[in-house]
Amino acid sequence: MIVRALFLCLCLTGLGFVRPAFGGTDLVSRVETAVEARRAALRHVSAEVVVRLDAPAWSGTGTCEGRLVAERPGSLRLRGYAAVSTVFDAVTDGTRFWVHVPGPNLLWVGPAGREAELVGLPVDPGTIVGALFGEPYGATGTPRAILGKPDWVAWDQADGAEVRTRWSGSPLRIQEAELWSDGARVAKLAYHDWRKRRGTWWPTTIAFDGGSTGTFALEFTDVRFDRAPATGAFAPPEAADAHVFDLGLADLPAGDAR
């Protein structure tokens, strides 16, 4: 009987039915390894995407095709198109942001990290960059286990916020992330349908939930990791004669505003 049970157990293990030990310190160390490996392997990404935006401040729902290029630690350019025309061009170099809407020729400029607050977008470009590289909401340092949540780890942020992330799969992949502040979840995002794209595991969709500011999703139709961003990739948009909304460049250190 015991031999039969052991045999069955071995078979199930071989077939992958018995889950390996997971969670706790084992998960923490595996997450650290996974994050480090991605950090070493992935410096930049360029992609073609479908952008889905549902933001009350941006006239409801919209879907468009787009292109993005991103580079660690905080640079992003995301441009959206409706067929032939450019719908928006959003750029951040990690310090400043620019959002240009060519149709009415409007340009918003301001300090990076405050786009959601100032422009009404559900997600800051900097948050998109962190999510692209698997370090959502600026999760850095040493993670810790979360009691009672074997698939989750958390990072404590310097500002008192907490980043919680759920992991699964082999190799280990991040599935969702939440930003908590003062005991309340203030934002979350989810990674859907991880696939190996050009030799690198990459989600088919990253969906951001900005709470009352709306939702934002990127569906990746093509992605490349071998194109280093061109010089000027994160330069301000060419927006001659645009109506400019300056949202706080005065807050930046002297000489930092363009």
């Binding site: 025309s85 060519p102 093509d222």
Partner: protein
């Protein structure tokens, strides 16, 4: 004497029919194509290029349908299928996946970067300066300074006289290259193809 008069008559007739001295072969070719054009259709690929992003990773594919005067339909396939319908000054952009139709001006829709579909080169010249840059190549420069386009470069195919490639240089850092596979001309595209009829339940957004 009669023969001489006939020669003079012929010479005068040719002189009247001949294009102005400044018109080169590319300009003539396009003008001839446009003057006889009732409708046209071609599949195309669209590639964007810019210093910031490089060339498109995956070219967009679609079909252009045209019926004179100024009925235009661009149907883009792909992950986010989109149809742009232009009737005169109004454009509808239908996005079935989003369940919405945007109604806007033709100018905002981006359709005017395809100005080669007019009644004649003379009509194109009302809005663009037309320069001949080769036996089958033209460059159109907008007369108005406030539009989104720097230039539109056309390379004409010999059979139809319509463009085989169109490069739209935008005022930002981006260019769009359309490559047309093969034009089918005057095959009789029905007017209902260009009717602003969309999927039931689609939300209409005015921009």
């Amino acid at each position: 004497m009669k023969r001489l008069l006939a020669y003079i008559g012929l010479a005068v007739a040719f002189a009247v029919a001949a294009p102005p001295a400044s018109a080169g072969p590319a300009r003539e070719k396009l003008d001839r194509a446009l003057k006889g054009l009732k409708d046209a259709r071609s599949s195309f690929t669209q590639v964007r290029n810019s210093p910031a992003f490089g060339a498109s990773l995956t070219p967009a594919k679609g079909t252009l349908s045209f019926r004179a005067p100024r009925l235009l339909k661009l149907e883009f396939a792909g992950a986010s299928p989109t149809t742009v319908l232009v009737r005169g000054d109004t454009a509808w952009i239908e996005q079935p996946k989003a369940g919405q139709v945007i109604r806007t001006s033709a100018l905002t829709s981006g359709a005017p970067p395809l100005p080669f579909l007019e009644e004649s080169v003379a009509v194109i010249e009302k809005a663009y300066v037309v320069k001949e840059t080769g036996p089958s190549a033209l460059v159109l420069e907008p007369r108005a300074a406030d539009g989104p386009i720097r230039t539109v470069e056309l390379v004409l195919e010999s059979a139809s006289g319509l463009p085989k490639t169109v490069v739209v240089q935008q005022k930002g850092d981006e260019s769009i290259t359309f490559t047309f596979a093969r034009w089918t001309v005057n095959a009789g595209i029905p007017a209902k193809t260009f009717a602003p009829v969309f999927a039931p339940g689609a939300k209409l957004v005015e921009l």
